[in-house]
């Protein structure tokens, strides 16, 4: 059973990694906690589902989910973040909270509060490797996660946009003095996080073949924990921390008891914050967050 649980943990971890990355992009570069990301994830999933139920191909569904989420992210950036970018951190964070409330309401009204289920042929296709069985969708989720993380790392570390993003993360004012178009890049950060969250939404929705307007909330909070543990600004950190937490959660359930699961996850997060705030893969000790 333990091997199967490891597989379960990896899959769950992949989910967390994707969402954690979305948070991380906005957090690391703009220093704010975008609470609407969990709902971007949820809406992305719903859009993807709508496309699939309309009998359109899978890649189109993923694309639609990503674009839908990115579009909403742009709206959030323009309306909720741009005007507030020089205020203390709570204000834009609460503004994103406002958006997340609106998005949940929209989803409930458009798709209903009951779970939206895909026809169950999506659950099929399991591959057996000895004591482990892994589904086709699971493999897709795992594969896509690694691919997306690598893609993001490439963009951030090898392209000029990535360089500009990192400059802004380092010091926004100096970056602007050096000619970096900060406002445009903040928008790009939001768009990227929206694309990621949307992709995660569709992939996760496909894997579990059911979605509700409230999938974002619980998973989102855990993803924040994953982001912290991996190192808020470290992309590869999210890839490591996601599976780590996923496996920790799964093992707690399997051997410790489902009840203490949340305790373990948040406890780990607090421990990391206290002992090694830069996260597992963090570099220099940078626990200076922007002042509240």
């Amino acid at each position: 059973m333990i091997l199967q649980q490891l597989v379960n943990g990896l899959t769950l971890g992949a989910v967390y990694t994707l969402i954690a990355l979305s948070f991380s992009l906005v957090m690391g570069i703009l220093g704010i906690l975008n609470l609407a990301i969990a709902e971007l994830f949820m809406i992305g999933g719903y859009i993807g589902f709508t496309v699939i139920i309309a009998q359109l191909p899978l890649p189109l569904a993923i694309l639609a989910g990503m674009c839908g989420a990115a579009l909403i992210a742009i709206i959030i950036e323009k309306v909720g973040y741009q005007p507030l970018r020089n205020t203390p951190v709570i204000t834009p964070m609460l503004s994103t909270l406002g958006f997340s409330i609106i998005l949940q309401n929209v989803a409930t009204n458009v798709w209903g509060s009951d779970p939206l289920q895909l026809p169950d042929q999506f659950l099929g296709h399991r591959f057996e490797f000895g004591p482990i069985s892994i589904g086709a969708m699971q493999l897709l989720v795992l594969g896509s996660t690694v691919f997306l993380v690598a893609l993001l790392a490439f963009v951030v570390q090898r392209t000029s946009i990535g360089r500009a993003l990192r400059a802004i993360a380092e010091n926004r004012d100096v970056a602007r003095l050096l000619g970096v178009p900060a406002d445009r890049l903040m928008l790009i950060a939001f768009i990227l996080s929206g694309l990621l969250a949307g992709a995660a939404g569709v992939l996760v929705g496909l894997h579990y073949a059911a979605i509700t307007p409230y999938v974002g909330v619980e998973t989102g909070l855990k993803a924040i924990a994953v982001m912290v543990i991996g190192g808020t600004t470290r992309i590869w950190g999210a890839l490591v921390a996601g599976p780590l937490i996923g496996i920790a959660e799964v093992m707690t359930v399997a051997y410790g008891g489902s009840q203490i699961r949340d305790f373990v996850v948040y406890g780990l997060m607090i421990l990391i914050l206290l002992l090694r705030p830069q996260g597992i893969l963090g570099g220099a000790r940078t626990d200076q967050g922007p002042r509240v």
Binding site: V89, G98, L221, I224, Q259, D262, F263
Partner: protein
């Protein structure tokens, strides 16, 4: 007064205390997203004392507040190492851990909740809420508050000047926790039934919202914020299906147009009775 408005007033008083708990901690530059945890501790502790041990309500509230205050101070120590959003996330984690603990705490019902408390009147709730508010407003005139603002504005400078920033920050946590605990105890005896779900992230955010919307720079701002948060769902009833979305939109609107919150020092001065220096 109609029972409906009495109920709303009671909810406002309870929320006010929670908002003030965030306000106190915020005054030293720390954002706490886990005060619902302290509220939960206060609610369960007070209820245990009154229901299982027959302690009268007022001493029970004080004992619970004291206990929560100690917990707040304990939390305050590791909180010193964290700044800004990292502290906020740590307090978020703390709040979730408390909720998770309460969910598993079978002695007091776990997910089934706990009841048996005696109902209290609106007047009693506002005696506490008003009392704490007055206390804080008095505190705002004192030297202690100046120290807290100094820590809020620039911690490094404050410590260089010789202020004991550690004591200030930890003290704020303790005080905030105690006030949140009182809010919890009153909540428990107003609704006469509590369950862990009452004290989750939603509740912590509600406190923060009340402070930020109402006015984060003056204590009475929390009154406006609490009143708004309690009344808005009622006033928006006519929108039915889109009630929550309307609330979210209003939130964003207020944040965009008046980011210091509705009540700020200038507005407050207009209403105060103190004469302006000529």
């Amino acid at each position: 007064m109609s029972t409906y408005y009495a109920g709303l007033l009671a909810d406002t008083g309870i929320l006010l205390l929670g908002a003030l708990s965030v306000y106190i901690i915020l005054a030293t530059g720390q954002l706490s997203l886990g005060n619902a945890g302290f509220m939960g501790i206060g609610a369960y502790a007070t209820s245990y004392l009154t229901v299982e041990m027959g302690v009268p309500l007022t001493p029970a509230l004080l004992i619970a507040a004291f206990g929560a205050g100690i917990m707040g101070i304990i939390i305050g120590f590791p909180a010193l190492r964290l700044k800004g959003i990292y502290l906020a996330m740590a307090t978020l984690g703390f709040g979730e851990m408390v909720r998770s603990f309460l969910l598993n705490f079978e002695t007091m019902g776990g997910s089934g909740g706990f009841s048996g408390m005696q109902h209290i009147s609106v007047t009693y709730i506002w005696l506490w809420a008003g009392g704490v508010l007055l206390l804080i407003m008095l505190l705002e005139q004192s030297r202690l508050w100046l120290e807290m603002r100094a820590v809020h504005d620039d911690e490094t400078a404050a410590s260089l000047v010789g202020l004991n920033t550690t004591a200030t920050k930890i003290g704020a946590f303790g005080f905030g926790a105690a006030v949140a605990a009182i809010s919890g105890g009153l909540f428990a005896h107003h609704h006469v039934y509590i369950e862990p779900a009452n004290f989750g992230f939603d509740r912590s955010i509600e406190f923060v919202l009340a402070v930020i919307l109402g006015g984060s720079t003056v204590a009475p701002g929390a009154v406006i914020g609490s009143g708004l948060l309690v009344m808005l769902p009622e006033m928006l009833r006519f929108i039915s299906d889109w009630r929550l979305a309307a609330f979210g939109a209003l939130l964003i609107l207020v944040l965009l147009t008046r980011r210091q919150g509705i009540l700020d020092r200038n507005l407050f001065r207009l209403f105060s009775l103190r004469k302006q220096p000529s």
